[in-house]
Symmetry: C2
Subunit: 157 residues, 2 copies
Amino acid sequence: MRNLTKSILGAGTCMAIVATAVFADSHVSPTKAIVDARHAQMQLISYHTGILGAIAKGEMEYDSAIVDAAASNIREMAKLQRATIWVEGTEQGVAADSRAKAEVWSDPDGFSQKFTDLENASSAMVGAADMAAVGAGMAGIGGACKACHDDYRGPKN
Amino acid sequence: MRNLTKSILGAGTCMAIVATAVFADSHVSPTKAIVDARHAQMQLISYHTGILGAIAKGEMEYDSAIVDAAASNIREMAKLQRATIWVEGTEQGVAADSRAKAEVWSDPDGFSQKFTDLENASSAMVGAADMAAVGAGMAGIGGACKACHDDYRGPKN
């Protein structure tokens, strides 16, 4: 918990007080709240990628407003500030339910680049004019997801 | 389910196909996936508001990087495109676990304004220079949360 304390709160803050104060309503530990926040970020990316993938495959009707909304939302989720979410000390094996590899923190530049890649791929999807364009854009988005998971996500818990 | 189909997919798309295609991995219905996406949006807002609130109360150490990250993330969550998340036909009483009132859809301009209010309040928090400034900003963020919940969120399920 020491790294966690230092990363999110600065050294010297008492984690017990924080746990009581910040997360009293949800009755969860700070570590769980952080992991849950990451899962919410991933869930929103996955949800919108699923919509785009279905449109690319012709399983969902092409609708420019839906495509743009889904792509924009993925882009914004990729751009979320990570200081409060990707907190050191909450990797797999330390934090319950976490699949984040230690490499997230030992290789921050590489990890950051993966989110930049997703941001760029989803930006490129905005305005995709038909089903074929969505399909072409999905290679970039799906590739960005996979590349990050390959390097920075551990096996299922 | 008719309104849902029309809103997110355009009329005529078969919901059963979509359910199979888009949400096969998660084994949830489209309605549940939509409600879960909203909950993820709200969870990320709540998580970051909790951090700012604790700093405002002196229960968590002031750290400008954490304040800015939390405020920025709330702002971006407030700006998420709603076409894929706030889908008509998923209100409380229709969709399990939903607390969204029908007014979300019957009063779209009013609902949209609430998110704009949160966007503005969280934007104003970015750069808050000390604990007192965070406290002052929390009135705006907390007020925006409450105002929206008062008008557009139903009672606990």
